[in-house]
């Protein structure tokens, strides 16, 4: 279970921040229970600040929670059903109140359409049950007709200190030793998004006792906030003087370049703006290359002008919108691909060890192995030769490899299923096999391949006594 799930607050008291909002929510709940139906609650705020969490906590105050997708027909039926009942009885029995949740109604984060505005308005109109809606962007056009019908509650970004405190609690619960300045750093970087802070903490900490020394390597903690200021200035403004000022940071300029690059497409919307901005960054990077090669760091000043004012002026006009900037996504991608990369590397190492090739060359052979591994016999041979584990085999092939029938069970040194080509045998084999294709079903039984084919035809519960003897090959 992910930490964001594991440590999701279950009561109002456990929720970080937004105390005032919670008070309003409690009042709203009380009114419902007292038999006074209320307009729907609309929780609006940036991601990772607790809207869905609050919705579910509210749900616990009622007899049931229904999370609905407004455009889904089944959901509409469900609503109609619950709308139909209870109109007369809820004043007597609280138990009959079911909370309906409509999450992310403004669809800002590319969620599938959660129902046209019409459907949502219909639900608001028809439902007799308490209704909670959540949204990210208070100025979204989709909300314009909905807002007036609701009680709007703003959920604010969580304070850095609250985030740090929450992270500290989690560390203690997980038995992880984490220095407070690392936690504070994580908290700062999340920019009020508690969910992402917990995710980042989990990624760093999974499997490790102590956490995040690498975070501190970026220098004094002030430097990070300065990078964000630099990026913000470059992307938000077109004022060359202001941008140059903001670019004066302690950080390694190549990191600054990465940060700017990361966020250009988040800020700039027009294709030619993104293209121009990236062209500037690319030219800046060329100057970095020249500086390294010639060991002449005066080239850096050109890089700086290009990635600062150059990028700033790549946009036609400034954008007035809220953008959440992000550090490099490499971190996230590394996290997501960690297991696969570990497998890839361990296979590459085995290949390097046995085949006199470098890991890099080994990896370049993987696409071939994917094809070769479809052939049972070859897959088996190579798996044995490289001593691959079942997990590693999965890199190349989904199905388990069945051991081909063997003449002498238990002998690892023989190539199963195929007679060893000794020098005296070579001519015979060549003669016998000339013109015969490798794996046709009509093939002679010399190579036991027809047995192999037969095995495949009678799928699962094949009882092959020979296979049972050779327990080495019972792949779990």
């Amino acid at each position: 279970m992910s930490w964001t799930e594991k440590y999701r607050p279950r009561t109002f008291e456990e929720v970080a921040g937004n105390k005032k909002a919670i008070e309003e929510i409690k009042k709203w709940i009380d009114e419902w229970k007292a038999g006074n139906p209320q307009p729907p609650l609309l929780l609006v705020g940036p991601p990772g600040t607790g809207k869905t969490t609050l919705a579910h906590i509210i749900g616990r105050e009622f007899s049931d929670t229904l999370e609905l997708n407004a455009s889904d027909k089944r959901s509409q039926d469900a609503i109609r059903r619950t709308a139909g009942e209870a109109s007369s009885t809820y004043s007597l029995f609280n138990h009959d109140l079911k909370l309906i949740i409509l999450d992310e109604v403004d669809g800002i984060h590319g969620n599938e359409d959660r129902g046209g505005v019409q459907a949502i308005n219909r639900i608001i109109k028809e439902s007799r049950q308490p209704l909670v809606l959540t949204a990210n962007d208070p100025y979204s056009k989709r909300l314009q007709t909905i807002k007036p019908k609701c009680k709007v509650i703003n959920i604010r970004k969580v304070h850095t200190a609250s985030i740090a405190a929450a992270l500290k609690r989690i560390c203690r619960a997980e038995g992880i030793d984490c220095p407070p300045d690392v936690l504070k750093e994580l908290a700062k970087r999340s920019m009020g998004d508690l969910r992402s802070a917990i995710n980042d903490l989990e990624a760093m900490a999974k499997g490790e006792e102590s956490v995040g020394k690498e975070l501190l390597d970026t220098g004094a903690k002030d430097a990070v906030s300065t990078i964000f200021d630099a990026v913000r200035a470059v992307l938000k403004s077109r004022d060359v003087v202001k941008v140059r000022e903001a670019m004066r940071v302690d950080d390694d300029p190549t990191s600054v370049l990465e940060f700017i690059a990361e966020n250009v497409p988040r800020e700039y919307e027009k294709p030619h703006e993104i293209s121009r901005a990236y062209d500037m960054l690319s030219r800046a990077d060329v100057f970095f290359g020249r500086a390294v090669r010639s060991r002449d760091y005066t080239y850096w000043r050109y890089a700086s002008e290009l990635m600062g004012p150059g990028v700033a002026l790549s946009k036609d006009e400034t954008y007035r919108k809220f953008v959440r900037y992000s550090g490099s996504s490499s971190f996230r991608i590394l996290r997501r691909t960690r297991k696969k990369r570990a497998l890839r590397d361990s296979v590459a190492r085995k290949m390097a060890g046995k085949m006199h090739i470098s890991p890099r060359v080994a990896i370049s052979m993987f696409p071939f192995l994917e094809i070769i591994f479809e052939n049972d016999e070859m897959a088996y041979e190579i798996k044995e030769y490289l001593e691959l584990t079942d997990e590693e085999v999965k890199l190349f092939r989904k199905r388990k490899i069945r051991a081909p029938e063997r003449k002498k069970p238990g002998k690892k040194t023989e190539t199963p299923g195929r007679p060893l080509p000794g020098p005296e045998k070579r001519d015979d084999e060549a003669g016998a096999d000339k013109g015969r294709s490798r794996k046709s079903p009509e093939d002679g039984s010399e190579r036991n391949r027809s047995h192999g084919q037969g095995e495949k035809k009678n799928k699962k519960n094949d009882e092959k006594p020979k296979e049972k003897q050779t327990s080495l090959f019972q792949f779990k």
Binding site: A261, I372, M378, T415, R426
Partner: protein, 318 residues
């Protein structure tokens, strides 16, 4: 255990090595004299550098060659220090059962200049008891002090008929049924790389039927890094951030270098144009962009940024 054919059919003797006729006789003289200087083998991938080094070591060192031969990847991610320690530990003792020791270092051109300077010092330190064989793709990336300490051997891409002869031998040994055109097709795609040729052959053989031209085309199309076309189409559809994420995943998961990635993009665009999936004018503009950014990758510091910029350029044609 036979395992992959590239290993199963690796020549064990200098005489059996495919091609490189300008190189082998000189090496055989070292075998006769039972001594050799430091060597540098330079040339493209898959033409026999490692195979030759192994064969040479076996013949010149004799029966106990295994104990007196150390094989290392010079660009080991763990760094020059690990490499140095391995060399030091290996060279501490005098060679036993062999006239001297050989240290084979692969991918030396991937080492930083500083690491290469450190390597040169190692080479000097053990010159009395050991010889080095350094292998690389681009000798221009090797610092001069190392080049001047080595006898340089340039390995050339193999010729079509040399590759075909070897493939025919393997096909005979494995009892494969094939069309002659299939082998020509392999030669075409392999571009002088015998390792790639053998992998193509084995992949085609694994498909189970007679090996035809079609089988080779099928293998080639399946043996590409995945998702390059998806990435290109995504950006040509205007979705820059999605395309950028795909690029990053490809590079991280498949461990592809910037230059290789450029090659992949170029080849994929080429294919798309041939299939009619991309019209002429657009194709030319994109190729122009690739060329420019290929150059910038070599000049610049961060290949990934350059590739992202290339994608951003593609965005203009969406």
């Amino acid at each position: 255990m036979s395992g992959p054919w590239v290993e199963k059919y690796r020549p064990q003797k200098l005489d059996d090595i495919v091609g490189q006729e300008h190189v082998i006789p000189r090496l055989k003289r070292y075998v006769e004299e039972k001594s050799m200087p430091n060597l540098m083998f330079t040339g493209p991938a898959g033409v026999g550098k490692t195979t030759t080094a192994l064969a040479l070591a076996k013949e010149i060192l004799g029966d106990y060659w295994r104990q007196n031969f150390l094989e290392l990847n010079a660009s080991d991610a763990r760094g020059i220090d690990t490499v140095r320690t391995s060399i030091k530990n290996f060279c501490r003792l005098k060679p036993v059962g062999a006239p001297f020791r050989i240290i084979f270092l692969d991918e030396v051109d991937n080492m930083t200049k500083d690491a290469q300077h450190a390597l040169r010092r190692e080479m000097e330190m053990y010159t009395k008891t050991s010889s080095f064989i350094l292998s690389c793709n681009y000798s221009s990336k090797i610092i001069d002090p190392i080049q001047s300490r080595c006898a340089i051997f340039r390995f050339l891409p193999l010729k079509g008929h040399q590759i075909i002869k070897r493939l025919e031998y393997i096909a005979r040994e494995e009892g494969l049924e094939y069309e002659p055109q299939a082998l020509d097709t392999i030669v075409y795609f392999a571009e002088g790389d015998l390792r790639k040729s053998i992998n193509l052959l084995q992949s085609a053989a694994s498909l189970g039927e007679k090996i035809t031209e079609e089988s080779i085309y099928e293998v080639v199309s399946r043996a590409r890094p995945k998702d390059v076309r998806k990435m290109i189409n995504t950006v040509l559809n205007g979705k820059f951030m999605d395309a950028r994420d795909i690029l990053r995943e490809i590079m991280v998961l498949q461990g592809i270098s910037g230059e290789d990635m450029v090659t992949q993009i170029y080849q994929e665009l080429s294919r798309m144009a041939m299939e009619g999936a991309l019209e002429g004018e657009k194709y030319i503009k994109l190729i122009e962009a690739i060329g420019e950014y290929d150059f910038r990758i070599r000049e610049g510091a961060n290949p990934r940024i350059q590739l992202e910029a290339l994608l951003a350029k593609f965005l203009e044609y969406s």
